[in-house]
Symmetry: C3
Amino acid sequence: MIPASAKIGDSVVIEDGVILGENVTIGHHCVLLAGTKLGDNVTVGHHCVLGVRPGGNATMRTTGVSNLTLTIGSGTRIGQLVSLYTGTVIGENSFVADHASIRENVVIGPGTVIGRAAIVELNTTIGASCTIQTNAYVTGDTTIEDHVFIGPCVSMSNDKYMGAQPYSLAGPTIRSGAKIGNNATLLPGVVIGKLAIVGAGSVVTRDVPDQTVVVGVPAALLDPS
Amino acid sequence: MIPASAKIGDSVVIEDGVILGENVTIGHHCVLLAGTKLGDNVTVGHHCVLGVRPGGNATMRTTGVSNLTLTIGSGTRIGQLVSLYTGTVIGENSFVADHASIRENVVIGPGTVIGRAAIVELNTTIGASCTIQTNAYVTGDTTIEDHVFIGPCVSMSNDKYMGAQPYSLAGPTIRSGAKIGNNATLLPGVVIGKLAIVGAGSVVTRDVPDQTVVVGVPAALLDPS
Amino acid sequence: MIPASAKIGDSVVIEDGVILGENVTIGHHCVLLAGTKLGDNVTVGHHCVLGVRPGGNATMRTTGVSNLTLTIGSGTRIGQLVSLYTGTVIGENSFVADHASIRENVVIGPGTVIGRAAIVELNTTIGASCTIQTNAYVTGDTTIEDHVFIGPCVSMSNDKYMGAQPYSLAGPTIRSGAKIGNNATLLPGVVIGKLAIVGAGSVVTRDVPDQTVVVGVPAALLDPS
């Protein structure tokens, strides 16, 4: 089950049903739950929990996850104190920094960075070569294409009715190459166009056309004067 | 001390003076410190620290906690990598998500959700059936009534003088059924009225009347036009 | 190696090359990696990882850290679930709260508080007797002088080009005694003057003179009327 090439830290828990590639490194005190599948050369820091199964209390939606596997692509590196759920695929040569959390039904492309303490909620797709900066919050039901930059502390929402109608959820859609400044706020369902730029601290309440720059509260096209 | 019905993970530390109800589940590597009291059917994820005693350095206020118990109501579920303090009561059938932290002298009602990486500071009361979304920050000395929705990344403050007069602290008061949009900013001592709505990204500098909607910086009544 | 005066929790990992002062307390399940150096009377909570070495994926900058020591001054207290990197010095009698993370090449002065879940990125200097509040984000390449107050959820950025030109980075400079309100946004390279005050939720796009008060989006001098 555990290849001879694996380097496993102290007090690591590896449940039955975990699959490890060649040359993986697992930090001290990690917990790898059933369904976790690591590619070759994956490195996991200390105190991580991998393969968490979804659950909540009676008021939270159930996601009907049928895929109880967490797949981490070859060469990807996971930091310390990270939690990752089943039903999720993280591409090759990506990086998930310390204290980050990624939930179920998420697909992350290769070469993408999920920053320190960043959170990716359920049912979300993130493309290749993206940077999701430190402490950014990617809400559920979000689509992020390739080469997108999400600045530190960016906030998103997928719930127009704030709990009153919990089953009509839509996160933002962020097109290829867009850049979102730090601590910007994105409302549910907004579309950020290709190569668009959202200024730091802006509040985006409507769609942003391709290759434009918006700033302010609410965000408006930047006056070039 | 540990009921036969309990399911306890590997390398769990349970100090003397911990009380466990029937059918509890404790994840791997959890640390349950003296004073922790779990009701029946409580589930705790992996790598949690329960029953932390308050402390800081010389510049931080002491809270004079005399209640050194952490009480978690029956049926409540705790995620992974969570820290919970003594002097605090969490109601039945609540949910505290991964990476969350709840400090001392906090009371949380039944059926409430404390989101992923959300933080609840000391001397705060949260009612029943509330949703405190992911990454929200509930400052100290705050009152939140029942059925309140706090969106993701909402920020609050209790310190009008920002450290200059540390002992005159007052957090917001948020009345029943109010909803706060994501990444909104609440200033110290503001009162958000019953069923009021605060738009995403707003900065609330004064009280919000019952059943009104405010948006913007500073937040003002929404122009219905 | 481990002084007789040390109190060490269960399942603690202490690598060769760790240096402990007198009367240190190390919580359960902590991981102390080679290069960690604790002064006398240091207290470390549970589930911490100390002495992490920098690393990332191919798209992230390498910092060329030659100093592979993490030094924590006498009397400093570290919370639970904290991650601290090598190449960093934390002064005496400081406090690093639960879930916080501090990266490489950081210097923190004595008597400073790093709040719960606060993050300090690489190549940053923080002075003496500062308060970095809960969930604040101190970006890389930042200078914070003495007696500064950074409110909860404050966000900073050091990357004017958002990933397009990753090697021209400059964080804010925050002069002695300045106070930044909660959830304020600071753009790359801005200078906040001595004893200046930035209002909660403001977006600071240009330098703030000494002893002035700015508010709003973008932040402007407060109209005294």
